[in-house]
Assembly symmetry: D2
């Protein structure tokens, strides 16, 4: 039987190492965000890379108890107060395409768009216009654009300014800005939102699309643990706040 191979962490000789670095050494003078970057990239980040990952993780950590992830975690705890790990896990299970998952899809779109520009010898603007036009023709919604409240999402500017001033803004940022212009032309002006912004930046930092979803989970777990902790200390068990109205068949005899 083959063993499971791994290049991530190692503690066979009692020394714990992550990607070859001694964990006790990483614990001094390095941040948790450095460790996250190291775990996923196999190398430590430079200051700009660290600042961007910090900003992204904070940007998605918690938007309020009513989000599906937070509400799911609280409801699970309401029936099962003995297990905070169950509640946090339940919260993660609410993360999907409709909640927290747009970054991953947007990273795929960016990777495909940049590859297409290269393969078809198009400028990024030409590739973006083609993709926006096709999406409109197929009635397909493009992830990463639009915001319920803001005309421009303030978090987008923060990430792009950090990326530019640190010299790491590349094809990802350039392409999503091209998409923003293309969408304004063929549909209507829609700002790049946090999902689109983090997707562009993570692409330029060399992450694969699946990290677009994983980074949301890492950040959101910080919020979920706080939500669960508040629920446990402040509320009673069996707290069910969802009104349910039965509208099925009325009572009827069995036979």
């Amino acid at each position: 039987m083959d063993p499971w191979r791994t290049a991530i962490a190692d503690s066979r000789d009692g020394q714990i190492r992550i990607r070859g670095y001694d964990v006790p050494s990483l614990m001094t003078g390095r941040t948790f965000t450095d460790t996250i970057f190291l775990l996923h990239q196999g190398r430590l980040p430079n200051p700009t890379e660290r600042a961007l990952l910090d900003a992204i993780l904070t940007g998605v950590a918690d938007h309020g108890s009513g989000a599906p992830s937070c509400a799911t975690a609280r409801l699970a705890l309401s029936g099962n107060r003995q297990s905070v790990s169950s509640a946090v896990a339940a919260g993660i299970l609410a993360v999907g395409d409709d909640h927290g998952g747009a970054g991953s899809g947007c990273m795929e779109m960016i990777a495909a768009g940049v590859a297409r520009a290269s393969a078809e010898s198009l400028s990024l603007d030409q590739a973006a216009l083609a993709i926006a036009t096709e999406a409109r023709a197929n009635g397909k919604r493009l992830a990463g654009f639009g915001h319920r409240v803001h005309k421009t999402d303030p978090r987008t500017a923060i990430l792009f300014d950090l990326a530019r001033s640190g010299g790491v803004a590349g094809n990802g940022v350039a392409f999503i800005e091209a998409m923003e212009r293309a969408i304004a032309t063929v549909v209507k002006p829609l700002p790049i939102n946090i999902d689109g912004a983090l997707a562009a930046v993570l692409h330029d930092l060399g992450f694969t699309p699946v990290f677009g979803r994983l980074v949301f989970i890492i950040g959101r777990v910080a919020g979920l643990t706080a939500e669960v902790s508040e629920e446990l200390s402040r509320e009673k068990p069996m707290r069910i706040r969802i009104p349910v109205e039965y509208d099925g068949v009325p009572a009827r005899p069995l036979d």
Copy 2:
């Protein structure tokens, strides 16, 4: 390295067997409830045992979408409609001491009470009176008694009648009825509820206390899958019905 040993199921030679029985044979003329009994007891049930397990599983399958398990499953799906297995799992994570878990604790109380009667040469009534008196003195709530609505839970009578007419009612049923009398004497009259009734019956059928929680999960998964299926076909994504009111510190500048 030691292998995992198991006495449950076997498919090494391509033939699938559960507890030594060919699965294709079990599929004809046997019910799913027989298989559940077989998986947990290592033998097939007689008609009374099967009828009792059927009644218990139906009795806990679904009490409405507002229960923590069902509401958790629906909320998880609301953010993550791509994965019905995630939603069902999230629903199970809401099962705990406060929701669906009383049967297990009640089975432990029954096992301890019956053992105490035997060890101390007490009648079941004497042991029950001692336990009820101690619980009252310690302010400890006894699982398996009391109902929000009914003076007597109709499901209790169904299970006990089935157990008695089938000749499987034993010390479990006798002891919980002794507890009901003892509680009426030292506290106030509280009917045996479904958790208490299924605990007594499962004790008499030879199940261990942990099955008191597992049987709730098996039955409730039938309901959770239906809740999730209805949510998927009838509702929109990101349906958040929990009102949340922020009451923390007001907005403040960072530095």
Copy 3:
């Protein structure tokens, strides 16, 4: 705020009802499998429908501790023996397209094939041949066919015999048999396996494709609970049987 509407279960007046039927009544003379059918279809099954659902649930309940679902549940318990619900939930999370999920995809293929035959005025054999030919051209694997060990899966014959003798075999069974012939013609002979068989039968019983995955979960939870129970009573905590071999960078200093 809108309430959650539901047509499944109702306990507003203290009486618990499933699809309008009193739960205490369902507990007598009806089986758990009846309740599962009722929850998902809104009506009780006839004897053939019940027998088919029983056979399917038993057919998927447990194939051995090494399946991803069972092994995941056992490993989760190994670190967290305090929560059997966590372990069962973890086991369900291993159910996906590669494990237990083929029935759902196969039901979609059957529904599409039957609809195509009708829309394009083809016989089921003609539609099946077209689909098999296209799948071969696109290198697409068709779910529901082939078996590692058997030339014919004995569970398939059991389900189809039950469906035929009970008069419920319809377009679903007919189409998947047409697919078997078509695949034999354009690829090579591949028997209808349990996933294909249950998909055909569930189609003919009027279930939607998502039930193809949910029925696997319902059946497998019977096995998962037994696996978890055995793990708890028979094994020690922190039982890790997966050999892992680190093959990443060797130890290196941090700076």
Copy 4:
């Protein structure tokens, strides 16, 4: 119906705030670890507090793919490669008293010991000796001491040095060192391990015991996401490496 109240996060007016601070502001110049501290404490950490939390989170992030949490996540993905959030959630479900949960129990012991010293006017050494003596008499294992490999756990010294040099070492660190001396006296010399060290430090930073488990989850999710990502990119589906040996009843006919 009462709303869910919360003091954590707020996005009612479209501005997202955590504990009153604007999220865009937190994204600049603050780290993710600051946000974690803020979410759980309601205030931002000073540099020593941040360094300690960083060190703890890195210290528990990943010790290798064979830990129950990591192995559970990989196995879940092996059957269900469509859902990385399911795999990460499954990994969290393996966190319990036997894996990752010692910090929480150790924080409870510290809080009880410090309270007892105060209530009974004992020195911390006297309280520790009493507790160690009682634990030995009851055969109770004390969480937070002992290591399979090291005579002293290097991570412990790192945390205590950071806490002391930053002036935040208080009764928590003092009490666990008193416990180490007491255990050496009444049992045998056992070093304070990472669980004991983080428990002492978190106590002195004002966290409640439940955070001892939650901080492990936050840190470990960094590792779990990397393990899941590696599994997805490097391995095939249905990769089952757990050897299982059936040792139940041999094949037998059903009737």
